[in-house]
Assembly symmetry: C2
Homo-oligomer: 553 residues x 2
Amino acid sequence: MMFRKFALAGIASTATLFATPAWADTLIDNVVGITINADGEVERFTGLVISDDGKVRELVKSGDPRPGSIDYQIDGEGRVMLPGMIDSHVHVMGIGFGQLTLDLSRTNSLEEALGAVRNFAEANPGRPWIIGRGWNQEKWGLGRFPTAAELDAVVSDRPVWLARVDGHAGWANSLAMSKANVTRASTDPNGGRIIRDPAGNPTGVFIDAAESFINAIVPEPRPSDRDVALHKAQDVLLASGITAVADMGTSVEDWQAFRRAGDHGSLKIRIMAYANDVKTMELIAGPAPTPWLYEDRLRLNGIKLYLDGALGSRGAVLKQPYHDESDHHGLALLRPAQLRNLMSRAAMDGFQTAIHAIGDAANAEVLDAISELSETYSGDRRWRIEHAQIVDPDEIVRFGQNGTIASMQPLHQTSDRLMAEARLGPDRLGGAYAWRSIAAAGAPLAFGSDAPVEPADAFAGLSVAISRTDADGEPFGGWLPGETISRDVALAGFTADGAYAGFADGRFGRLIAGERADFILVDRDPMLSSPQDIREMQVLETWIGGERVFENK
Amino acid sequence: MMFRKFALAGIASTATLFATPAWADTLIDNVVGITINADGEVERFTGLVISDDGKVRELVKSGDPRPGSIDYQIDGEGRVMLPGMIDSHVHVMGIGFGQLTLDLSRTNSLEEALGAVRNFAEANPGRPWIIGRGWNQEKWGLGRFPTAAELDAVVSDRPVWLARVDGHAGWANSLAMSKANVTRASTDPNGGRIIRDPAGNPTGVFIDAAESFINAIVPEPRPSDRDVALHKAQDVLLASGITAVADMGTSVEDWQAFRRAGDHGSLKIRIMAYANDVKTMELIAGPAPTPWLYEDRLRLNGIKLYLDGALGSRGAVLKQPYHDESDHHGLALLRPAQLRNLMSRAAMDGFQTAIHAIGDAANAEVLDAISELSETYSGDRRWRIEHAQIVDPDEIVRFGQNGTIASMQPLHQTSDRLMAEARLGPDRLGGAYAWRSIAAAGAPLAFGSDAPVEPADAFAGLSVAISRTDADGEPFGGWLPGETISRDVALAGFTADGAYAGFADGRFGRLIAGERADFILVDRDPMLSSPQDIREMQVLETWIGGERVFENK
């Protein structure tokens, strides 16, 4: 950072010179500062002092005298300062590769998507595969899955493979299926399904575990591709005001890319990583979680497990059959004993466990497992349930037990609400995206985006969290508005509680003395703005560890 | 280190206080200092100044005035100071696991070995497998390989698996073979051989690639086992005065253990790593060699390739048949095109290549490949040939070309000489362990031990390098004594040239200003002692980066 130069004048005037060497401390003054404080409450301040080690030295409150031993001073010009946003559920490399592949998430119809595929293929003649993601037949109002034949009509000379918006389904053209030797005779794997026509022929969409038919033959990215993707992802996140993330399902290749960036000094963002399986967890970290590396920028906290799929693709495991598919309960990805064995394997070496559970049956299963495991693995475990979208209302109280953390994504609520109504019917929504109830039960809410499934937009997340309305303000008054939460809890969910959920409390997440000086300067006060205005909030600057890493010019 | 404390008095008296903060510089005075200097020549000194960053600030020569700005002073008490030894060919984890498993390298007969196996099994009742290494039927004078039946007589209730001293053969008991489903019907893999009786039944010894029958079923060590092994290896090396090593054939699990030690601050020794295959190299380092990590303690330089096996197990590839097996030329592990493809794959991304070549045909093949590759991959490549034991005398001159480095192990010469005479006959030894001729051709000699194949004993290596006699002084006058080298070249081979061979020149390997202060204090002067006395040299202290990491108490 520009302010690190040895400060001659400062030294000469510093009384403590001979006890400890003095360095350059910087005051950012004249800000509308907002943070969660040590008591978990919102606190306001007008200035912040960064010590030379990149940590917060102290906050300045309105009316306080100017702090001593300041070597540099920056005028905040009255801008709003917030702690850096923490996104507690992202797929870092997915965000990065999303930047390098075809993004269909903004398409509003099948025709629009097919046009985008054609254009992308023409614009990238050298790519042996056309890879993309983000389609959503629900958003298109298609009423069915798209087909390989539809893709063939726009690209038939190269394999095409497009992930659904939630990552739980993939759409292939015929050449991709042919290269993967998928035929009528191919059988559905455990935890997966090949969509077929009435005659039994695969039609081009592969659900959950069946995606591996095609994934297995997609060329692996080179390490240099991964490095590019990581830096793209970092750029996206820093520009969005996100200074730390939980990476859900880190592969060893991902981890090595993180380390390369750390080793070369180009890792700016903080990554709390959760390995994608036990083997990877062990290979990365060995007999215990890694230390915090690169000045609190990287740690392998534990493991991510998948217990079920997604609601959109009907992979989420429900207690009662799907309202819109009456013979189907979803697809469990782990048997109860497998879940407990994997959780034990992690817990015995002090690793944290983050378990994807979307359906009410899956959430019940995880809560059971946490309860059982907690008898053996006591202490501060911070069991994380990822998504916790559909919970039996009778079981919400259990989120307050055993230190369970609810890692939830507000934007999923607005994206999913119509689909959730279709999947569950009107009578089974009492525990859907139930933020207020879960918080009331005592579980910390760690908020995230699930990017690239949703945009990594914490401000949209804040807006939804307090309103349960979408970008168009729909539905008026909010969807199941009893589950909105206060602005304070929402801000904590995207800052302090996200750090807590990743064992980073005390290191970052709050602007309090001794934590890393990770903050953003924005153009409005989220505690005073309307939900719609919060969505429009602009990041002016992003700082991590006392260094400015993004500036909106 | 004990001298790092902020030096109040030093600061107060230092004129440069306000320009740059002054730290503690340490003078180690009154030593008999010896190093290779910047001109590649032996230079003597009487004192060494370590700057606070752990580098050499300056050498003090006899008659020089006392250097200025010294905060601490240590009396060397007239002891001999050498650069830390660099062992250019070790298997770090092999050394460590060797400390944790049965060591048969000092057994002098089959009976002695069987007794050791029995004792080890009794002493370790909880181990599900009895794992060991170091046997040598040649040393035992057995005249044949040992058998499973002989092992069964001492341990039959648990599988036993014992690696030969050179790692190129393994000896199993019947239970291990049965667990591995090895039967009469098992066929020899490419590059490997199952030793059989006249009826075709496997007798218990597996050569080279055939070792994988058993290796595949040996339980993998846990990461915590690896961490213990690494620290055991480090202890052995530091106590031997070795401050840096080239690790030949680093697996990703090995690398992660190195990183864990680095991340926790417990990695003292410097490791120049060579990955065990392309996939590992890419996974570890991505698109280019890693930076130097942990203050020059770890770097992935490139890849280790095996072109042939060992002479003892008749895996080395010879131009003419083995003298003692007239229908056998050895076992090539890579085809010529494979070798070139792998070398290209590494070179295109700037990785260094270290190729195991023992037989004269293998060395010729590598020299051909280097010559061809050098046309495409120009610049400072430092192609390494590992072992280069048997070279066609007509081809030795080619070691001076294309920057080829000969990474050789003096102790192999004394251990192997009788075996080499048997394998090659008396008329084909002209290019055997031909240090002087290879150096005369212009190739740097990087000396090592191949530990745990031989002990990590650089002083024994120095002794052999200048004498070509073994611990008993045999044979009188040295074996093929024309290939002895000077003390200066031998010292460089275990210090400066070892650093050069790992792209570490300028970082460590010499005691010159700006390089890391890696040195040892020993009890005699290797430039003046007899070869037998050099073998007895004692390490009194080992220092790395200006910190004492071993003291012989």
